[in-house]
Subunit: 193 residues, 4 copies
């Protein structure tokens, strides 16, 4: 319906896939620092122009590759209580962080978002804020049910959850585990009425 019939050759899905696969492989093999547009083009047997035509930067290619491969869309749980919802949310996130390739890629993207302001904007809007919104739904329900800790607003709860996750990813490089998830739940969703 969108571009139903334009003249000219169609975008090659084969090239697109080859680019995304090559990008993930190269990033995994030598790290994001060694990832180059030239390298991606060479590995995928594609012209550089084909990459520049469809993505604004190599970080966007990587983000696209990650999104295409790993399903980053953690579904929003609704278990009836904030405690259960948060536990499930953290558990699913934990599963993601376990795959070191996904973790490494997220690290690289967050890094690039700091260095390249244009990509930073896209990364925040297309990825970070969507994740915030997902958790936001859970927290909003908690707020309505008065399940949040006293004196702590919804925004802060979200910041604490994602902050802890990202900090462990970026700084200590020990992605969150079940114990840590348990402690976060204890902190943010205490049992007492």
């Amino acid at each position: 319906m969108t571009d139903q019939s334009r003249p000219g050759r169609k975008r090659s899905e084969q090239s697109r896939q080859a680019i995304l696969v090559a990008t993930l492989e190269l990033a995994a093999e030598a790290g994001y620092g060694a990832l180059t547009v030239e390298g991606i083009a060479a590995r995928s047997g594609v012209g550089k122009q084909t990459i520049y035509r469809w993505w604004p930067s190599k970080a966007d290619v990587l983000l696209d590759a990650l999104a295409t491969k790993a399903d980053l869309q953690v579904p929003i749980p609704d278990e009836g209580s904030f405690r259960a919802d948060l536990a499930l949310f953290l558990d699913r996130t934990y599963a993601l962080g376990t795959k070191s390739q996904v973790a490494d890629t997220l690290r690289a993207l967050m890094a690039q978002a700091q260095i390249d302001p244009e990509f930073g904007k896209r990364f925040r809007e297309d990825f970070l804020f969507r994740r915030r919104d997902a958790l936001g739904e859970i927290v909003e329900r908690a707020r309505e049910r008065a399940e949040l800790p006293a004196g702590v607003g919804p925004g802060t709860v979200i910041d604490v959850v994602f902050g802890t996750l990202w900090y462990r990813l970026l700084a200590t490089r020990e992605p969150i585990g079940p114990e840590m998830a348990g402690e976060l739940v204890a902190l943010l969703a205490p049992t007492s009425g």
Copy 2:
């Protein structure tokens, strides 16, 4: 004790200062992405080799410049209660984050630490872990006085504090403010016995 008197010309303190100043200026003016060793050398009137002789990478120069200029060593408060100590710690950190130049530099360093593993190791050991240790002392005293929230270990408290700070710096780009500091205190150091 180490190299008290070796033969040969001594390191030029003047060049060192010129390099650090030029580095901060360039990073502030055009952003870390535009910071180059050549640029630093040109601006500071120094040969490139002099930079490579003393620092392993431009990120190390920037870290050195930041450490030399802004006193990042937040002193460890001891006000008698975890609540007061944490509040003071956050307040002082808040003051730091307010200076946008410091915040921008920290963002760039954390980013570079993800992309360049060698620098990452140094950044963690020379900066991040020292900051952890500082807060660690406060939290340890709190643990001894049983002032920590139930079911939450000292390590987690530290992760939550720094995580929230860094997340706001990197992701939402709204460095912590007094309200947020208050909510963190409410969450981590509740008044009730």
Copy 3:
């Protein structure tokens, strides 16, 4: 036959010309010692890579420039006698050596051929030996007609001619003139039967 129609952009003849011109100008202005690839690139408005892509060293660029500009291919005379042929050959060579720019360039190339063995091989094969072959034809005809001095082989005659030319170019820096040419003819192609 070689690369009739490959995909990809064609080599820019404009860049090639600009490089050769800039090379000759720079060598003339400041001498071969001051000739640098960077300088050539800057003067000709070309990327360094474009130079490295097509020539192995700056000496090769200079040789190419010389060959393209000054027609070094002295035609082989055939006047019927060795005496006349040699006189004409020396006269034409004399004309070349008169242009100080050509003389300076030849000096530099011969020098570089000594210092850089790889270029030396190319210089000998692409330039020196071709010149030898040209004179070789003349001398061979002389040998057939028994016009060579007694007890002196063709190879030696060639060595003496080019040796004297080069020696005056390199050592005394007084390129050959008409009188010297006359004496060489008297020595190598005596009139008496």
Copy 4:
């Protein structure tokens, strides 16, 4: 008479020798192109300043080293006839050129003399012209005895001799041998009265 007695430490003959030896070794091992002042200093255990204090350039060091080691002063023969003198002169020169290290060094010096005009002047005056003068004596005696070929002046004879020697050294890289020496004698000092 010059600097009979000044205060201060005397020039270290040991360092001088070490420098000259290191220079010859390095030039022999990796070629003149790889010869550097830093390399000489490192190999000889000497400070760079000590080299710069006594020699204007590395080529001068090499020339000094060659002059100190190989006795380049070919004595002027006086055998009674030009034919015999020239034969002896060529024979002695041939002996020199046989040692490939000497030949390589001469090649490098002649090359450097083209590229570095200041050294070129010194090389010509201190080396090339002295050699010319030596042969000049022989030729002058021949001229007085009317032993030179008809129509060929003394200067040209010298140019032909050295020209041929140098050309074979630089261009064909086949230093003169006994047969070639014989042919040169036949050409320049014919037997006929």
